[in-house]
């Protein structure tokens, strides 16, 4: 931000110098050198971006405009695949489900993470370092492994949690029933991601100058006031960013339900989440073109949310 302001002051000087001939060639050469250096720096990133992002996206958009039939082969079909996806109740039910999922999971994860981060930052826990590691550990477990693990732990009739619930007087709960499957996945995802969010918030808290807190303490501010008036406002950018990242992650929910469906096929339907809809359409039903169209629509949905969120953050001054 300071850089921008710096430059904005300058234009007057620039116009004055504009016609000075001898300096121009040198500057343009050095400018080109600078650009080349810059390009050299970004080229590995650009190469990977092109190879693994731009080309696949281009291919997805291209194939979404065609239809391949077992009888009759491939033909151009314009936006027909998009109409099919947009008119599919299955696709929208998945969008609805992940939206509900996000509305519960995002605040829960960020809230819990904030709670733990504040406690550890304030030194209220005696074994802070140990517990921080313990809470972070689930993040180190790959989502696939975590899903397999939880699907065993929550197994109907035989799983230890099911037995525990039974001894607590609940009547043989089925964590994979149609009513409990979303809460079950929320629990798994919260378990996986709280530690990661907590670590980010903890780091952000550590970056708050201790002089501020000390001054507040000298002024006699109680702990809750310090948290509410100093720490929370200064954490705002980190909190907003985490909410946004969690939201995008939630909308792309795939790994957990797809692994659970291998163990409990009746619990996870064809279009349980939009990503599963894409996968099952392309791989499960071998309708790759339709799957590509669904992927593009899902991408646009998430892209729209991202753009909205970035412009919101820019307006509130968190991004420049």
């Amino acid at each position: 931000m300071s850089m921008t302001q710096d430059h904005e002051v300058r234009p007057a000087a620039v116009t004055e110098q504009h016609g000075v001939a001898p300096i121009r060639p040198r500057s343009s050469r050095s400018r080109r050198r600078a650009e080349l250096t810059g390009f050299a720096f970004v080229s590995p990133f650009l190469a990977i971006l092109t190879l693994f992002m731009l080309v696949p996206i281009g291919y997805a958009i291209y194939s979404s405009l065609y239809t391949t039939k077992l009888i009759g082969g491939t033909s151009y079909s314009g936006l027909a695949n998009y109409r099919t996806v947009l008119g599919s109740g299955e696709f929208w039910s998945g969008v609805e489900r992940v939206s509900l999922f996000a509305v519960i999971q995002v605040p829960l994860t960020v809230g819990l993470a904030l709670f733990f981060a504040v406690i550890f930052d304030a030194g209220l826990s005696r074994f802070g370092r140990f517990f921080r590691l313990v809470y972070f550990m689930p993040f180190a477990v790959p989502a696939v492994v975590a899903s397999v693990m939880w699907s065993f732990l929550l197994l109907p009739t035989f799983g230890p949690y099911t037995r525990l619930a039974k001894t607590l007087g609940m009547h043989n709960p089925n964590f994979f029933s149609s009513r409990l499957i979303v809460p079950t996945i929320i629990a798994i995802v919260v378990w996986e991601w709280t530690g990661y969010n907590m670590t980010i918030l903890y780091t952000a808290l550590k970056a708050i100058p201790s002089s501020l807190t000390e001054a507040a303490i000298l002024d006699g501010a109680p702990f809750t006031t310090i948290v509410r008036r100093i720490k929370l406002p200064m954490l705002r950018p980190a909190l907003v960013m985490l909410c946004f990242l969690n939201l995008v992650g939630a909308l792309q929910l795939f790994t957990e339900p797809s692994i659970l469906s291998a163990f409990q096929p009746q619990a996870v339907s064809f279009g349980f989440t939009p990503s599963l809809f894409v996968y099952n359409t392309a791989i499960g039903s071998a309708e790759y073109n339709l799957g590509a169209a669904a992927a593009v629509i899902l991408g646009l949905l998430i892209g729209g949310i991202s753009v909205a969120s970035v412009s919101l953050r820019r307006r509130s001054g968190e991004l420049s």
Partner: protein, 503 residues
């Protein structure tokens, strides 16, 4: 960038600054781009992430199926009951030294013990060298095969393919007609039900290996206790189910897993109510709502409504516990079933006997087939003759079957010399005590009407789970699920350009 360009002409230190700052701008832009990877490029991220995730998931589901043998076999089996039981995949393969002049072939397959058969072939056929690769079980493998076909390269010379998936590969002309490589010499040695499923018209697209004929596999101790003899008709079966359930309310005669397409379709086949017809070309028959099919659905819904049958998932721990705990007295077991069941049976070891399936019409002796594989040669192969020779040896030789029917592979033969062999028929398993159950299975294998599979079984299996999940949950009935499935499959087939007949 524009602004720093303006700054450049200032002499002295400024150009340096500008250089630095333009570099900085580029770097910042790059970082921002990276940081916003999830943001600015999300139309991308959506597609790319899901496809990447998709392939990971495919890979993991494959490894999950193989790695977590008994309980994950629920998945493996519901999608893919191969004859050789959905277990072992990665039995360590001894690399067989091949001569450098040998014709090199690659085979994809997952069934247990196939590596031993391949080693035996390489040992006895030094001019051909086959390498076995495991690319996931059943549908996982078929998806990968489909990708190689779409790409036009990368397919193996040979692959293990279950009967029901053959038409899906035949329609894309991906398989080699083996008749030009002498496969018809083996016709008299293979059970007709297997041969017909591998054929289309006069062409034979795969060498049949094993079969999964259904029998009524029952807990004799439990049935004797309540004075029930194995029913011979479905009418008798319903009476017996009511009798057992009223005598012991915790017990039910049978279990049907509505979500297991192959198990349900095998029962429908046995009941003369197989819903699909297909003989190649562009027309396909789909009929889940005909008289016989509706009668089938109503019959089972009736048992389910009266709690005289359960809907526990096949191969789940709960199912084994029900069999072993005297809750389910009968399993409609394919021939490859007892070997796996034995591993999860403790209390009722030795009590299980085999009887022919109950019949729709008294006096019939029909059975249905669940599972079983073939070996097919791919059109992409550059060594089709050698591959055909291997496939024919694999399914049609005593040497191969000696290993295939052995303790590791445990496959049930479509190979008649073994199917009729007195020693094979006299074999016993601990779970059945001294009973020679192979005799019942072998008889069942000879009395099956070959089903005609539609050329889009991957889609059919995917849709099946969606349509039938509600039956297990109790939120829909079997006849309604049949109607729902009928509509979905007709829509799919028409969308794929087929002429669909529905009666």
């Amino acid at each position: 960038m524009k602004r720093s360009r303006g700054a450049a002409p200032v002499p002295g230190r400024l150009p340096l600054v500008s250089k630095r700052s333009s570099l900085a701008v580029v770097l910042v832009a790059a970082t921002a781009l990276t940081a916003c990877g999830g943001t600015s490029s999300t139309p991308a991220a959506g597609g790319a992430t899901s496809s990447a995730a998709a392939s990971t998931a495919a890979a993991t589901s494959a490894s999950a199926t193989s790695a977590t043998a008994p309980s994950a076999s629920a998945t493996a089996a519901s999608q893919a009951p191969s004859a050789a039981a959905p277990s072992a995949v990665s039995a360590s393969q001894k690399p067989v030294p091949c001569s450098s002049s040998a014709t090199k072939l690659t085979m994809w397959g997952w069934a247990a013990g196939y590596n031993l058969v391949v080693s035996e072939f390489n040992r006895t056929h030094p001019d051909i060298c086959v390498t076995l690769e495991n690319n996931g079980a059943a549908n996982d493998e078929y998806v990968k095969l489909g990708n190689t076909i779409k790409a036009g390269s990368g397919a193996p010379d040979l692959a293990e393919i279950e009967y029901f998936s053959l038409p899906s590969f035949e329609i894309s002309k991906s398989l080699v007609d083996l008749t030009k490589y002498g496969v018809n010499d083996y016709k008299s040695k293979i059970a007709p039900v297997a041969w017909q499923q591998a054929s289309q018209g006069s062409a034979v697209y795969a060498m049949p290996v094993d079969l999964g004929p259904l029998v009524q596999y029952y807990n004799s101790t439990l049935l004797t206790k309540y004075g029930i003899t194995p029913p011979t008709t479905w009418a008798e079966f319903a009476t017996a189910a009511a009798k057992l359930h009223s005598a012991d309310p915790t017990a039910t005669l049978a279990n049907i897993d509505p979500e297991n397409a192959q198990a349900v379709l095998a029962l429908m086949q046995e009941d003369n109510a197989f819903p699909f017809t297909y003989t190649g070309g562009s027309s396909v028959g789909i009929n889940f709502t005909g008289a016989a099919e509706t009668a089938f659905a109503t019959y089972w819904q009736d048992l389910l409504s009266k709690k005289e049958a359960t809907t526990v998932a096949d191969f789940s721990p709960a199912q084994w516990s029900n069999f072993d705990g005297g809750i389910n007295a009968v399993r409609f077991s394919p021939a490859w079933g007892p070997v796996g069941m034995q591993l999860s049976t403790k209390k009722t070891i030795g009590a299980w006997r085999a009887a022919p399936m109950p019949q729709a019409k008294a006096g019939d002796n029909l059975s249905g087939n669940w599972g079983g594989s073939t070996v097919a040669v791919f059109a992409q192969s550059k060594h089709q003759a050698a591959a055909a020779q291997f496939a024919e040896w694999f399914g049609g030789s005593d040497a191969a079957w000696k290993i295939l029917s052995g303790p590791i592979a445990g496959a049930f033969p479509a190979y008649l010399p073994l199917l009729n062999d007195p020693t094979f028929l006299a074999r016993t398993l601990p779970i059945s005590g001294s009973a020679t159950t192979n005799k019942t299975f072998a008889t069942a294998a000879q009395h099956m009407v070959a089903p005609q599979w539609p050329p889009f079984m991957t889609a059919a299996l995917t849709q099946w789970t969606t349509s039938f999940a509600g039956v297990t949950k109790g939120t829909t009935t079997l006849p309604d699920a049949f109607k729902n499935y009928q509509a979905a499959m007709v829509k799919y087939a028409k969308g794929q350009g087929f002429t669909v007949t529905t009666s």
